[in-house]
């Protein structure tokens, strides 16, 4: 009996970590789908989202739930700004060039974080509503562990509706299918790209808030690791594919938690797990679990 309850505990932890990875991975996958660009700075956008929430809750008189909505919106606009400054001038140039710019943007945001927010870790103000422990048949679980997957699933349903049913979503999918043809069909590329960055950054910030409620320690470099891992989740699931990103996120989150839980000897290798998984996937099925097969055109 004890084993089952421990397993359930690990399972819920894994699912909640997995949905956090999924939320961040969506931003990577959407941008990659349209621009074929790894937005290296996405993890740092996530960090900005957490810090904006932190400052909003601590230093403004606004109620926390309003900050939890406003901060992601603001982060979304920062995402748009990032694209305009670091990526747009390079549109149409070699991919390595843009990748270098993305890495530069990532380091810029991290170090701006250190300059503005300070290098000292801060404690995230977790609202009481999200932060109490409930007992469920012998398993004591923090309520936030349930809220994370619930919020994620709601957002995913919203996103799926947006991409499949609305006109903007259709334009987005058209752009990711065939950029040149879509742009000939009168789609306003700049607008769609801005919306994509907005939504990716918005979701990353929501993921950040949930992350902060789960692991309430803020640091300017906190975005780097979750960012890389979420990117891996996106690749594992098949980059460019939103469902794939979610599946990849869950595989990664569950895998990491289970590795630590059942092979404690290997717990030091936790951070390497994601990278090993990435390399295996790239070698076995480079297009990812849900990705379309890419044929090389000559």
């Amino acid at each position: 009996m004890g084993d089952v309850s421990i397993f359930l505990q690990h399972l819920t932890n894994g699912i909640s970590l997995g949905s956090l990875y999924a939320l961040i991975a969506i931003g990577y996958t959407m941008v990659y789908g349209i621009l074929r660009l790894i937005n290296f700075a996405h993890g740092d956008i996530f960090m900005l989202g957490v810090y904006l929430t932190f400052y909003g809750v601590i230093y403004t008189p606004l109620p926390w739930w309003l900050v939890f909505i406003l901060a992601p919106l603001l982060t979304g606009f920062i995402g748009i700004l990032l694209e305009k400054v670091a990526y747009k001038p390079l549109r149409g140039s070699a991919r390595i060039t843009i990748l270098i710019s993305a890495i530069g943007a990532s380091f810029l945001l991290q170090n701006l974080g250190i300059v503005i927010f300070g290098g000292r870790p801060r404690a995230f103000p977790v609202p009481q509503l999200l932060n109490h422990v409930i007992k469920l048949g012998g398993v004591s679980i923090n309520v936030v562990t349930f809220i994370i997957p619930a919020v994620s699933i709601l957002l995913l349903i919203g996103l799926t509706y947006f991409t499949t049913k609305t006109k903007t979503g259709l334009a987005m999918r058209a752009l990711s299918k065939d950029y040149e043809t879509a742009s000939l069909m009168g789609i306003d590329i700049n607008r769609i790209i801005s919306i994509t960055f907005f939504m990716g950054s918005f979701l990353a910030a929501i993921g950040g808030i949930l992350w902060g409620s789960r692991y309430p320690q803020l640091m300017p470099l906190m975005g780097a690791m979750p960012g890389l891992k979420s990117f891996i989740a996106a690749v594992v699931g098949g980059i460019g594919n939103i469902t794939g990103a979610v599946i990849g996120g869950f595989i990664l989150g569950l895998g990491e938690i289970m590795l630590v839980a059942f092979l404690p000897r290997l717990s030091g290798y936790r951070d390497a797990f994601a990278f090993v998984l990435l390399i295996i996937i790239l070698l076995v099925k480079p297009s990812g679990l849900m990705g379309n097969k890419v044929t090389e055109k000559v």
Binding site: L35, R36, L37, I38, V85, A86, P89, L90, R91, G92, S93, A94, R95, I96, T97, I98, L99, I100, S101, I103, G104, A105, F107, L108, Q110, N111, L112, G113, I114, V115, G119, D178, Y179, E180, P220, A224, L228, F231, I232, V235, G268, Y269, D271, A272, A274, F275, V276, L278, I279, L282, L283, P286, E296, V298
Partner: protein, 339 residues
């Protein structure tokens, strides 16, 4: 005629370097000598990364990992036996390394060879990936190497790192290696292998159609780059005397990438100049991070400001020079938006 004048230029550079180093050793203080050493090491690093990224067109971000391999090889091989016992107090070092004490040159060569071996082992499977996938896979490998080094207590002393590595590196070593790297890479690029590397960079499909063995040349370029990264890591270890796994984070790769981008992808001379300029600037801009006391006024430094400046420079250079560099790679296959 042209060959002859080139030989003259090489000779002049060689003589000037030796003279410069001689004068520097004689008249400069320890801090400046250290910067000169670091510049030499960064020249080697920049050139080795440029061989992979600029000349062969493979976007690798694994340099820090290969440096770590080199640094640890030199650290473990050259450290005196008594020092090893002091370092490994948590868990004794693996027996076959406990009584090893090599000279610096064989240790450096071993560092390069082991890094190159790992380069082949890692490169063989991942080098068939392109662009961003390769970047993320090599980044992953560098990260795995770091995590493994943090956990192998009896081999690398884990997170504690190694202390008391003999300080063999001096300006002759660091710049000697830099000159050898410079010579080797320009020699390589003049020959058939170099031509093949460039062809792969320009257009993989066309290169393959011309009968170039993609796999062989990519692995070759990658492992040569890794060799020099390992040697440079070893020099770094013997310069600093202390290493730990956290030194070899992606930030280190970022610094080298900055050198390669500033110097120009595929350019040897530019990389050398950029390496020196960036290393000196890294030190010169230290005032941004630290407080300066000018007696009457105190300027408060902001930690992290230095890297902010460098990131802005990187983005700025990439955007401004976009037309100039990588011009020739601007084929349909490599562009931002692939159809």
């Amino acid at each position: 005629m042209r060959e002859k004048s080139k030989t003259h230029v090489t000779l002049i550079i060689l003589v000037l370097t030796i003279l410069g180093l001689f004068l520097a050793n004689r008249y400069l203080d320890a801090y400046k000598i250290r910067i000169i050493n670091l510049s030499g090491i960064y020249v080697t690093l920049g050139l080795s990364m440029n061989l992979i990224n600029g000349m062969t067109g493979m976007f690798s971000l694994g340099h820090a990992g290969f440096m770590a391999i080199g640094a640890y090889t030199v650290g473990i091989l050259t450290m005196p036996v008594s020092m090893k016992q002091m370092n490994f107090f948590m868990q004794p070092i693996v027996p076959f390394l406990a009584n090893v004490e090599w000279g610096f040159l064989p240790a450096l060569l071993a560092a390069g060879l082991i890094a190159a071996l790992f380069g082949v082992l890692i490169g063989a499977p991942v080098l068939r990936l392109t662009d961003d996938y390769l970047a993320i896979a090599t980044l992953g490998f560098a990260e795995i190497i770091r995590v493994v080094f943090t956990n192998t207590q009896s081999l690398t002393n884990g997170a504690l790192g190694l202390k008391g590595i003999p300080n063999y590196t001096n300006t002759w070593w660091s710049w000697g290696v830099a000159l050898v790297t410079m010579w080797f890479i320009s020699f390589l690029m003049k020959g058939t292998y170099g031509k093949a590397f460039l062809a792969i960079r320009e257009d993989e499909v066309a290169a393959r159609a011309m009968g170039i063995n993609l796999f062989k040349h990519k692995v070759m370029s990658f492992s040569f780059g890794c060799f020099f990264a390992g040697v440079a890591g070893g020099l770094m270890a013997a310069l600093l005397g202390t290493i730990d796994p956290n030194m070899f984070r992606i930030t280190l790769t970022f610094n080298i990438l900055l050198i390669v981008v500033l110097g120009g992808l595929g350019k040897i001379g530019g990389t050398v100049i950029a390496a020196v300029v960036v290393t000196v600037m890294m030190e010169a801009l230290r005032f941004l991070d630290e407080s300066i006391d000018l007696g009457l006024v105190q300027i408060k430094g902001i930690p992290g400001m230095r890297m902010v400046v460098f990131s802005i420079i990187l983005i700025f250079v990439v955007i401004v020079r976009e037309k100039g560099f990588l011009k020739r790679t601007k084929g349909r296959e490599l562009t931002y938006v692939k159809n």
